[in-house]
Subunit: 321 residues, 2 copies
């Protein structure tokens, strides 16, 4: 059966699962992600905890263990250079975990892992040239070219969210201004919605009522819910995020020329309210349109589990040689 | 010796050469590029002409013939989908030429060929992850990842010049607004210089005098010459182009994470007047700066011949299997 364990280390949850060769998750384990302020050791303990729980629950042997983590994974695939959610700085995660777990560990960026899963089992099954865009608080990115994950020389390719799309635009956590993820992400959606509610805009009546006038209570899923119920302003907010998504995708298509873009992450739950404007903006903006084949833009299929499924499968492939 | 012929089809010249395995150009042939309005057959005649001239001038056998062309080369590497300088539309160039020349022909985008040459024989010898940016009238792009040229699913990756950097910015020939090549290219340099001369700006006195007040006589090389002579306004114009170059490179570094960027094309003759501001902007703009290794930005070494050297060498490698 060649079962593998995948672990996805997100901002709030560490999600792990036993994954078979058809991409099915047979068993699951979860834990809260430790706070950013704690020592790296605590995060390790959490990972070791969920992995050990799964190994012990499994009658069959586990052939490989893969970790998907947000952040910069070094080219040596052993070290986490930097992670936005955690206290890791040049953390030798692979060796620390394999020492404690007693098995080889495989590490990758979470969006790379999700890309791999969607191309092997999900929305772009069989596609050789595809790109993953995960819209959460920011943007995560994964690149598949010729069937291979492209990681760059230093291991940190795919940081699409920090390509500048608006000179002098909104300040980003990365320190720059105008980064794409300030315009196409859950944070962007919430920032705009909160602005309207805080200003008590007449256009934001539905949103205002849903949070009793308290902008801090607005979340991405709530905006999506209000949009799906037909509120025009919430729909406009998603359209705006979708339009920026499409513009950025046209930029990526000019550079990478893939066959498909897979849109995942929390914001993708908005479905066509997000993807339809993204496709329209993409078609309007793609250079050479009319003279070239156009990439598909599709919603991810594997949802929250793409990262752990992909991490497990990449680990399995790396063990198989 | 395994000699190969490379042909670079530029906007004004068709340059061809016999290239040995050390990247040296042993013999050369040139012809004017036919006008865009003529039939594809005329362009073919020109290519066949320079290639035949070289074959006949060469005592040793030619093992491979490579063509580098500006434009979209399809993934089948047989068809030119679209070329900005020529009348080709879905032109089956490979087969037409091999029928007439009687040898296998290899086709690639000119910037891919230049990238290959610079990585094998030029400014980034030995680099496995590098990107070529040629600054001419527009921007050409080539991508090398893991030692392989990345061409995308449809063959037309690397069109960096048409990534949008300014929403609603300058109109581009591609039909969009705000494309990078409207800010970082020879055309951008000339547009800005002409604007100052046309307005008879007091800042543009040196430029004005050099063209006797006729903006149409301003060219990129002239602006560079005036800058190199110390004119502050011409230096500022190159600084502005260099700054935009650095901003775009930071975007590409976020996405591709290469070890080096090679800057070629006519504008690169400005040397440090262009590259120094590009490096400064890149360092200011690179996401994750301080937490990651940084790519080098270097000037191309092979000049005008990079395209033909690379086309010859790619052809030779493809014949060698």
């Amino acid at each position: 059966m060649a079962l593998a364990i995948g672990v996805d280390i997100g901002g709030t949850k560490v999600a792990a699962g036993v994954v078979d060769t058809s991409g099915q998750v047979l068993r699951r384990a979860r834990a809260d992600t430790p706070e950013r302020s704690v020592r790296p050791q605590v995060v390790e303990d959490t990972i070791v905890g969920v992995v050990t729980e799964l190994i012990e629950s499994c009658a069959e042997p586990i052939v490989a263990i893969g970790i998907g983590a947000a952040g910069f994974v070094a080219a040596d695939r052993a070290t986490i250079v930097f992670s936005p959610h955690l206290s890791w700085r040049n953390e030798p995660l692979r060796d620390r975990l394999s020492d404690r777990i007693g098995q080889p560990i495989f590490i990758d960026n979470d969006a790379n892992a999700a890309m791999w899963a969607e191309a092997k089992y999900g929305a772009v099954r069989g596609e050789t040239h595809a790109m993953m865009i995960t819209l959460g608080t920011g943007i995560g990115g994964g690149i598949l070219m010729g069937g291979e994950v492209i990681r760059g020389l230093f291991g940190i390719a795919g940081e699409f969210g920090h390509m500048q799309v608006v000179p002098g635009g909104h300040r980003c956590e990365c320190g720059n201004r105008g980064c794409w993820e300030q315009y196409a992400s859950g944070n962007a959606l919430v920032r705009e919605a909160r602005g309207l509610v805080a200003a008590n805009s007449p256009l934001a009546r539905d949103l205002y009522e849903r949070v009793a006038g308290d902008p801090a209570r607005l979340t991405g899923p709530l905006v999506t819910e209000v949009a799906q119920a037909g509120d025009r302003t919430a729909i406009e907010l998603l359209t705006e995020v979708g339009t920026w998504l499409g513009i950025g995708i046209a930029n990526l298509a000019a550079a990478f020329d893939p066959g498909a873009f897979v849109i995942g992450g929390g914001v993708s739950a908005a479905g066509e309210l997000l993807l339809d404007p993204a496709r329209q903006a993409f078609r309007k903006q793609l250079t050479g349109r009319g003279f070239r084949p156009e990439a598909r833009i599709v919603r991810a299929e594997l949802g929250n589990e793409a990262g752990l499924i992909g991490a497990a499968d990449l680990a399995r492939e790396s063990v198989a040689g």
